[in-house]
């Protein structure tokens, strides 16, 4: 086994990733607050105490529920839009294609921070262009929970559909024309060829796109944090990631924040393992 090829990666990942993760697990079992950080008091082992506090708190279940709905909504819209546009890309003229791919690249390249800030400006209650055009002067888009989530969701989709679109389009282009010609000779129509040949050949790529979208959208942080100013009015737009961060840094409950982080990691772990199993069943090997 070529150990030396893996050594540089391990030299970075073990101390900077694996060890902090272990520390995160450890912290989630302790009562670790401001007095412990400053060294005033020793950390107190509470076992599963943080987790039972969390599970007994109705606020946690609300946040968990809206995180799942928000992430699922973003994933579905992103994938549907990205896939539809990827197919559209194969049916349009050169000028339209160039314009669409450059526009998508622009949205993709925009940092989450600047994207959030620009959309906030567009939807500003008083100076925003959207309210001006719609004649909704003074309407606050962040006041209602659902509307605020929809707005943040739109920014997330705007940032992430280009990855899906460009990846799938590149994949469709990479299908050898000879295969499609053979199918056409055998009497397959364009739709059949697409469904029976292109889609199955793209399966590994689709898998990457789906897993990545789930992972990214479940962990949205910057957009929520910046646009709803740390979780919305009275925390109504909190998602798990922001919730963990606020518990740790705003209320100095580092142990509790770590416990939320552990819960999130486990949820994503289950999702990915289910997906890997489904992949393996279709004959894909890792």
């Amino acid at each position: 086994m070529p150990v030396w090829l893996l050594l540089p990666a391990l030299a970075v990942l073990v101390p900077m990733f694996a060890y902090p993760l272990y520390q995160l697990g450890l912290l989630s079992l302790f009562d670790y607050g401001q007095p412990q950080v400053s060294g005033g008091e020793p950390a107190r082992f509470v076992g599963a105490g943080n987790f039972s506090t969390l599970f007994a708190d109705p606020a946690f279940w609300t946040v968990l529920g809206q995180t799942v709905v928000f992430a699922a909504g973003c994933v579905v819209v992103t994938l549907a839009l990205g896939a539809a546009l990827a197919v559209l890309m194969t049916r349009i003229g050169k000028l339209a294609r160039t314009m669409l791919s450059y526009a998508a690249l622009t949205a993709w390249a925009a940092p989450a921070m600047t994207g959030s800030v620009v959309w906030m400006f567009l939807f500003d209650s008083n100076l925003g262009l959207v309210n001006e055009v719609l004649g909704l002067d003074g309407y606050n888009w962040l006041y209602d929970r659902t509307v605020a989530f929809a707005l943040v969701g739109a920014v997330v989709v705007w940032h992430s559909f280009p990855f899906v679109m460009i990846t799938l389009y590149a994949g469709i282009q990479a299908v050898p024309p000879s295969v499609l010609e053979a199918a056409a000779l055998d009497g397959a129509g364009a739709a059949t060829a697409f469904r029976r040949i292109t889609v199955p050949m793209l399966r590994p790529l689709i898998a990457i796109v789906v897993i990545q979208s789930i992972i990214w959208d479940f962990k949205v942080f910057t957009q929520i944090y910046v646009m709803t100013r740390g979780g919305g009015i009275a925390g109504q737009n909190m998602v798990l990631n922001v919730y963990a961060y606020q518990k740790a840094f705003a209320s100095s409950q580092y142990g509790l924040g770590s416990a939320i982080g552990i819960v999130m990691t486990l949820i994503l772990l289950v999702v990915t393992l289910l997906y890997l199993r489904a992949l393996r069943r279709t004959g894909e090997v890792l």
């Binding site: 450059y102 942080f221 100013r229 922001v242």
Partner: protein, 277 residues
């Protein structure tokens, strides 16, 4: 006819997609009076660089810009090198722990980075006491952390590109007497360049966009601050200086755009290369 409808839809989507960026650049160039006007127009007849001047001058964005660039480029270079070696090991060699390592890399991408900032803060603090240059308040600490978080995805993605190179190429080179080292750098490395370009985009963005670690690690040394955290300085809950915010946002977006356009061709062909045939 059908083609024309499709073209129109595509162009409309393109315009809507690019509009926020256009509005950002436009607002950065508008005089403050026009931004505050109740009748915003999608153009300006009096472009001004005032907002950029104040962002770069008074607010010191030039320095933050440079810091961000140094961190991002260091992460891209190191990540490409380390990920390439690991991807070769995980593609070209079969060993017992291979699948386990691959699954671990996938799992690593799921870890909520925000939660890890707690243990990492204490770790970076302690590390800085023994190794100068990577402790709190240094750009080195950001490079180290961003490198770690960009690696799992980079390795996962590069694997596909290495797998796409037929092993016969290397076998032929071995027959011709090339050493392992030569094969790695002179043959494999150039062949997966498109993949490296695609991967670099992700590493660059991870590093360039990060504001959490910059905020957590750079506490007192404001001269080592990076762009995203510095942008928050402009952001005031009630009286936002939108012109300044848009100028700073433009400064932060342009390098990524340039980088993207630069690698665009390789990016598309690279991602296509991940399809098996």
């Amino acid at each position: 006819m059908r083609r024309r409808v499709a073209d129109t839809v595509a162009i409309l989507v393109a315009l809507v997609t690019v509009f926020p960026i256009y509005w950002m650049v436009l607002s950065a160039l508008k005089p403050t009076g026009e931004i505050l006007s109740a009748d915003p127009r999608p153009w300006t007849l009096h472009p001004t660089l005032d907002h950029f001047r104040s962002a770069l001058g008074v607010s010191g964005f030039g320095r933050y810009f440079l810091n961000s660039l140094v961190v991002a480029l260091a992460v891209v270079a190191l990540s490409a090198l380390v990920a390439f070696l690991a991807a070769v090991a995980l593609t070209r060699y079969r060993f017992r722990t291979r699948s386990t390592i691959l699954v671990l890399f996938l799992i690593a991408q799921m870890v909520p980075v925000e939660a890890l900032s707690i243990p990492l803060f204490f770790q970076i603090r302690d590390l800085g006491r023994t190794v100068p240059g990577v402790g709190l308040n240094t750009l080195g600490s950001l490079v180290l952390v961003q490198l770690a978080f960009s690696l799992p995805f980079a390795i996962w993605m590069l694997r596909g590109f290495v797998a796409a190179v037929p092993p016969e190429v290397e076998e032929a080179a071995t027959m011709d007497g090339a050493s392992r080292f030569t094969i790695l750098w002179r043959i494999l490395f150039p062949l997966i360049a498109p993949g490296l370009a695609a991967t670099s985009v992700f590493s660059f963005i991870t590093a360039w966009n990060d504001f959490l670690f910059a905020k957590t690690f750079i506490i007192s040394a404001t001269e080592n601050q990076t762009l995203p955290a510095a942008l928050l300085v402009f952001f005031k809950p009630d009286e936002n200086d939108w012109g300044g915010i848009m100028a700073a946002s433009t400064l932060m977006t342009v390098p990524v755009l340039v980088f993207f356009v630069f690698v665009r061709r390789r990016l598309v062909s690279g991602l296509g290369g991940a399809v098996k045939d």
